[in-house]
């Protein structure tokens, strides 16, 4: 292989062919281009006419250059050019592959496999055996082992069957395996190529392993690309108010954006949001904003890396959230779907599992239906019930039942009395993490030494407004910044008329979460054990304040509820009962059936269970009561793998090896093609370059034909002077000079407008210029006659191409039949049939009545050919009482330029198109009789002749147009006397 920078040739010796180029140059200069061969009858006249000047015997220099370039490209292509050729494996001896297959190796696992496969193939080509060593414990929990020396095919299969494990790798184990293999003398002493496919994460044995591997042979370390670096997703504390997933990464040099996707238990995405690591940030905690109703469905949050980041995703970050490293979910559909399609899964470590502890937040209201008094709709329980309904599961029951069912928070209205047993239970429950929210009221205000309050209370409380007082009810004042109410805006509509007052004490200030305007506490709280005791110094109904009917009340209760820890669904059984896996994560972070090696965990050890082959991360318990075991919180150290010098570091992306030979071949072919075209053009054989001549010739022929027709007419009408006609007939131009709007040249709307703006006669463009000119002149003459004599304001006629143009505008189509006209294609036939079916009339004129009739002429054959496929009705000679004989003029025969021909018409009686014939066929060359020049003089003599014949021809035209326009109207007129007579009786 010959390398020239990034370009290399697989068969460099073939480049010697380039030396032949000068020879080719010489040959090309020497050989004249091949002449074109022309048969020529009059060659006798050419003999002895050889041109005196020497013709250019050789091709021009640029053509030779072109050919040389083509030849050079061909030679280069044959030599097998390759861009960015793959470097070979270093060293010889066996190839040792050390593969990290812990959870951190999951991103882009397929790319790693492909890379490793390619390396194994290389080793296979060099006939080198392959040994494989993984670093994570296997599925069955056994430590990794160095494989036997495998042939390439088996090694490839082994690598293909590898999958990342949902637990961390342990390089100490790998090291031990190496030691064991060396002890067994497994041939690891000799020189070997060592490739370590690392996951990029450091651990305790990494440095030692690297050293050990380096000793075995040249070490190549494959490190993942930045976009495939692993990320850890640590779920928030169970029951936390905000869903803030802590994301950790090892490599922090560059900014990085990841996409968080919240999914339901069925894998359905609930929300998606981008989060951004700023450069240098190792850990961020973006808050996933999920609607509360969806949050209870949350089963897992996966973190994915966008393979190619949509450019505007970070740009749309609002400032406040950008500081937190949280991206807003992009509202636009395309941007939202872009991360979906272009993400790299980051594996089990980047998957946070959520069970009911994060979702369920049961709330209880202490209520004793038997002892509650008063009106139901004014009771505190009712207000609490309404305010708490959106917060979570709500139950109203006595204390004992509530505690047994497990609650996140218990609300105790003043109206419900407590006995001492309940108090003890509540205190215990609070110590265990419960939140008790108590409301003041008349009962509490009068109570003696009630110790179930966060602060000591003064008896009796205070009344701020009443019949005997002049003070105003107090409004809500300040809110403690560190309490749960931080950020709540006071509402002016919430006023407190009465409250209980706290005894002043040193710690009163820090126990106060909310105050009135005059600084007296409204909400006080005290931690009790793991839980909270909260007192609201007024009632839960409107007796003492309007707080309960303000929106503030709902927000306050909601925040208080979130103080409490989530409550797992209670599972029956002993505390150390085994809990089996329900669904576990695989190394890619996909939930699935647990492997057979997964073991149950004792219920009380669930929180401390170490993730490993026996306990893969996932859900444990039962389908209905699941507990999540997460991998990420157990990873303490998450650092970048940094291996000492001596190892060659590379990425997983394969070398971008591109064979270029096909491009060279293509370029050579292109040049040869150009050369061929140029040569053709130089020899004058390009078909496109000689278009002018035949056209001119056909025009000549047409003019000649017209002249012959004219001469013929002259000869027939005036036998005395044919010689004179011959002398001046040669160059006479037939037909009126064409104006700008020659028929058929109009297109689209122009055509439609012109055709539809007035009654327009149309003729079919046959392609024979002389015939078309006559048709146009003929219809012009007829239109003039129509304008002069009838109410039909006929516009200038239009030529239509039946193959292309829309026919619906024309009541009548004049169709001169020539045998040169090409057959109709199917679309045109369909259009004509539609035209006929919708009321169109076509007059076919074979123009051959002057020739012997009764025999099929060429025009008749052409007519047969053209009309093939047309929906032609049965034809009959025009009967003497036909409407056509009386639609304007009374006439019985229909002469054109010729007479004596029969006009065929659709058999009357057909009930289509109002009885108007669809097709008329004749051969009298009517357009020839109608044709006039600009001055209105007839262009052609009529045969046998006379003004009467021409007049009758015009009359036929008028009758025909009237017939096409008015239909059977005249037929009805004929019966009017009979109708009148009948009416009279």
């Amino acid at each position: 292989m010959l390398s020239l920078g990034p370009l290399a040739f697989l068969q460099p010796w073939l480049l010697a062919g380039l030396l032949a180029l000068p020879v080719l140059w010489w040959l090309l200069r020497l050989l004249p281009p091949a002449p074109k061969r022309v048969d020529f009858p009059a060659i006798r006249l050419l003999f002895g006419l050889e041109s005196p000047e020497k013709t250019p015997a050789s091709a021009p220099w640029w053509l030779i250059l072109l050919r040389l370039a083509a030849a050079a490209l061909l030679i280069l292509a044959v030599a097998g050019p390759v861009l960015n050729p793959e470097r070979g494996l270093e060293g010889d001896g066996p190839l040792l592959l050390v593969i990290d297959d812990g959870f951190a190796a999951a991103p882009r696992w397929e790319a790693r496999q492909q890379r490793l496969t390619a390396l194994i193939e290389q080793a296979g080509r060099a006939d080198r055996p392959v040994r494989i060593l993984t670093t994570a414990r296997r599925l069955d929990g056994t430590p990794p082992e160095v494989s036997d020396a495998l042939p390439a095919a088996r090694a490839e299969a082994a690598v293909r069957s590898l999958a990342p494990k949902p637990w961390p790798g342990d390089r100490l184990l790998a090291l031990a395996a190496l030691d064991r293999a060396a002890a067994e003398g497994a041939g690891l002493d000799g020189p070997a190529s060592v490739i370590w496919a690392a996951d990029g994460i450091d651990d305790a044995g990494a440095a030692d392993l690297a050293e050990r591997l380096d000793a075995l042979g040249p070490l190549t370390l494959l490190q993942p690309a930045a976009e495939a670096a692993p990320v850890l997703a640590v779920p928030p504390r169970a029951g936390a108010a905000e869903l803030a997933v802590t994301l950790r990464r090892a490599e922090a040099s560059a900014a990085r954006t990841v996409v968080l996707t919240a999914r339901g238990p069925d894998g359905r995405p609930l929300a998606r949001q981008a989060a951004r690591f700023e450069a240098g940030a190792r850990e961020i905690a973006p808050v996933l904003d999920i609607p509360r109703a969806l949050r209870n469905d949350l089963a897992l949050i996966t973190v994915e890396a966008p393979a190619r980041l949509p450019a505007r995703l970070p740009a749309r970050l609002p400032n406040r959230e950008a500081a937190q490293g949280v991206g807003d979910e992009t509202p636009s559909e395309s941007a939202a779907s872009a991360p979906e399609t272009l993400t790299i899964g980051l594996g089990a470590g980047a998957t946070a599992l959520f069970d009911e502890r994060w979702a369920r937040r049961p709330v209880g209201i202490v209520s004793d239906a038997g002892r509650d008094v008063g009106l139901a709709l004014l009771s505190e329980v009712y207000y609490l019930d309404r305010a708490l309904a959106p917060v979570g599961e709500l139950s109203r029951a006595p204390v004992e039942i509530l505690i047994r069912a497990g609650q996140a928070a218990i609300f105790l209205p003043d109206s419900t009395p407590l006995d001492s047993n309940d108090r003890d239970r509540l205190v215990d429950w609070m110590n265990g993490g419960g939140v008790l929210v108590r409301f003041a009221g008349p009962r509490l205000a009068q109570a003696e030494d009630d110790d179930l309050t966060p602060v000591p209370l003064r008896r009796g409380g205070r009344q701020l407004s009443g019949a005997l007082q002049w003070t105003e009810p107090a409004r809500i004042g300040a809110v403690a910044d560190d309490g749960p109410f931080a950020g709540l805006a006071p509402r002016p509509d919430a006023v407190v008329k009465r409250q209980v007052l706290a005894e002043p004490s040193l710690d009163l200030d820090e126990k106060t979460w909310m105050r009135l305007e005059d600084d007296t506490p409204l909400v006080t709280a005290e931690p009790r054990g793991d839980g909270w005791l909260v007192l609201i110094h007024t009632t839960a109904n409107t007796d003492w304040s309007t707080l309960a009917i303000s929106g503030l009340f709902v927000e306050m209760l909601q925040r208080l509820t979130e103080l409490g820890a989530g409550v797992p669904t209670a599972l029956p059984g002993a505390p150390d009962r085994p809990i089996g896996p329900v669904q576990t994560l695989d190394g890619f972070g996909r939930l699935g059936e647990p492997p057979v090696t997964a073991r149950p965990i004792a219920a009380d050890e669930l929180a401390d269970a170490v993730v490993g082959p026996e306990h893969p991360p996932g859900f444990y318990g039962t389908e209905t009561a699941r507990q999540a075991v997460n991998l990420a919180p157990q990873i303490a150290d998450f650092e970048t793998l940094d291996v000492a010098a001596g190892a060659t570091t590379a990425g997983y992306a394969p070398a971008d090896e591109r064979p270029l030979d096909k491009w060279f071949y293509l370029a050579a072919l292109l040049l040869v093609l150009i050369d061929g075209l140029v040569t053709l053009a130089m020899r004058g054989q390009m078909p496109g370059l000689r278009g002018g001549r035949p056209r001119a010739r056909s025009a000549n022929r047409a003019a000649g034909g017209a002249a012959a027709a004219l001469l013929l007419g002259a000869a027939l009408t005036s036998p005395a002077g044919p010689a004179a006609a011959q002398s001046d007939g040669g160059d006479q131009v037939i037909g009126a000079p064409m104006g700008s709007g020659a028929g058929g040249a109009l297109a689209g709307d122009d055509f439609a407008l012109r055709a539809a703006n007035a009654t327009t006669l149309a003729y079919v463009v046959t392609g024979d210029a002389a015939v078309d000119r006559v048709s146009r002149a003929g219809l012009s003459g007829l239109s003039a006659v129509l304008r002069r004599r009838t109410a039909v304001e006929a516009a200038e006629p239009i030529g239509v191409d039946v193959n292309e143009d829309e026919l619906a505008f024309f009541p009548l189509l004049y169709w001169p039949v020539t045998d040169a006209q090409p057959s109709l294609h199917q679309g045109a036939v369909d259009r004509l049939n539609r035209y006929l079916a919708n009321g169109g009339t076509i007059l076919f004129d074979t123009r051959d009545a002057h020739l012997a009739s009764g025999r099929l002429s060429a025009a008749s054959e052409a007519l047969q050919r053209l009309a093939r496929g047309l929906d032609a009705p049965e034809l009959t000679p025009v009967p003497p009482d036909h409407v056509l004989t009386k639609s304007f003029y009374l006439m019985q025969d229909f002469p054109g330029r010729w007479t004596g021909d029969v006009l065929w018409i659709e058999k009357p009686g057909a009930e289509v198109n109002d009885g108007v014939a669809r097709i008329l066929v004749g051969g009298a060359d009517w357009s020839g009789a109608w044709a006039v020049d600009e001055a209105g003089r007839p262009l052609f003599p009529v045969t046998p002749g006379g003004d009467r014949q021409r007049e009758m021809a015009y009359r036929f035209g008028v009758n025909l147009v009237m017939y096409a326009l008015t239909g059977n109207y005249k037929a009805d007129q004929v019966h009017i006397p009979a109708i009148l007579e009948r009416l009279g009786q």
Binding site: P35, D39, P41, I43, L46, S51, L712
Partner: protein
């Protein structure tokens, strides 16, 4: 074959029957069926004229003369049919069309031959193909026989001598016969002159219709060209064909002038027809030439 005859017939039908103007009474002019609108031998009454001194007494029409004092001679209309020999060049050089849209020269020559034969037959003349050895005949069946011979049907004409050279066969025609020759007449002018001279010696008159392709007229080729002769004249390679054009046209004109001169000298007419022109035109010119054959019209005519 059917179609070319049909086309020839329909061409011919557009002209009235053609009566050859026979100037001289000759042995070839058989006693015919149609009057020649002039005094001569025949059965139909033509005119009475006053008796003149050289008239034989037996020619006096006594019945007419009895009605007046003068003597009258009864004259009849001359009824005669002319024999016309037809020939179309079938040599290889005629098998040529410079463009696919143009007919080959052979086709055009045969079409014109058949069309004029149809005209002549309708006019009552007798026609025969030259070089076949048949006697002139009349009637519609003759046309079919002609087309058979021409188009290679049953009983096609054997290749006559001189055919390869593109010259009419040196057949002995009856004195005073008419001949119509269709061909390109590109053979050396001496050969043509000699053949025409032979015809003139037999007092055979007629017309040559030179059928040319437009490419032969204009030499429209450019660039390096190898011209291939079609009658094994050899070939010629030229570097720039366009350089030859002017001199070629000059030479062609000279050739045609020489042809015209030879024709005039023999009392013939030369008509030139190009295949890109409609055949009707040529037929019309031919018609004019034959129907009104007058001495001043002999020479080159274009159609």
């Amino acid at each position: 074959m059917e179609s070319i005859r049909a086309r020839a017939e329909s061409l011919g039908e557009s002209l009235p029957g053609l009566l050859i103007e026979a100037e001289r009474v000759a042995a070839t002019v058989a006693q015919g069926i149609h009057g020649r609108r002039r005094v001569g031998m025949g059965e139909t009454f033509w005119q009475y004229r006053p008796f003149e001194a050289h008239d034989a007494a037996s020619s006096v029409d006594w019945r007419r003369s009895a009605r007046s004092d003068a003597l009258y001679v009864r004259e009849t209309e001359w009824e005669a049919a002319q024999s016309v020999w037809l020939w179309a060049d079938g040599s290889a050089s005629m098998d040529y069309a410079s463009d696919r849209r143009l007919p080959r020269k052979t086709d055009r020559a045969r079409l014109l031959l058949l069309a004029s034969a149809a005209l002549l037959l309708r006019g009552g003349e007798r026609v025969a193909l030259m070089g076949v050895g048949e006697r002139p005949a009349m009637g519609r069946a003759v046309l079919e026989r002609l087309s058979d011979r021409l188009l290679g049907g049953a009983g096609a004409a054997p290749a006559a001598e001189g055919e390869a050279a593109g010259l009419p066969p040196s057949e002995r025609l009856p004195r005073g016969a008419q001949a119509l020759l269709f061909g390109d007449f590109l053979a050396p002018i001496e050969a043509v002159e000699e053949r025409l001279g032979a015809f003139a010696a037999q007092q055979v008159r007629g017309a040559m219709i030179q059928i040319m392709d437009p490419a032969e007229e204009a030499l429209p080729f450019t660039g390096r060209t190898r011209f291939l002769g079609m009658e094994s004249e050899g070939d010629l390679t030229v570097g720039r064909a366009e350089a030859l054009r002017a001199r070629y046209v000059e030479r062609l004109t000279a050739h045609r002038d020489a042809l015209g001169a030879a024709a005039r000298a023999a009392g013939w007419r030369l008509l030139v027809h190009h295949t890109d022109q409609p055949p009707e035109q040529a037929l019309l010119t031919l018609y004019m030439a034959l129907a009104h054959d007058s001495p001043h019209a002999s020479g080159v005519g274009y159609g």
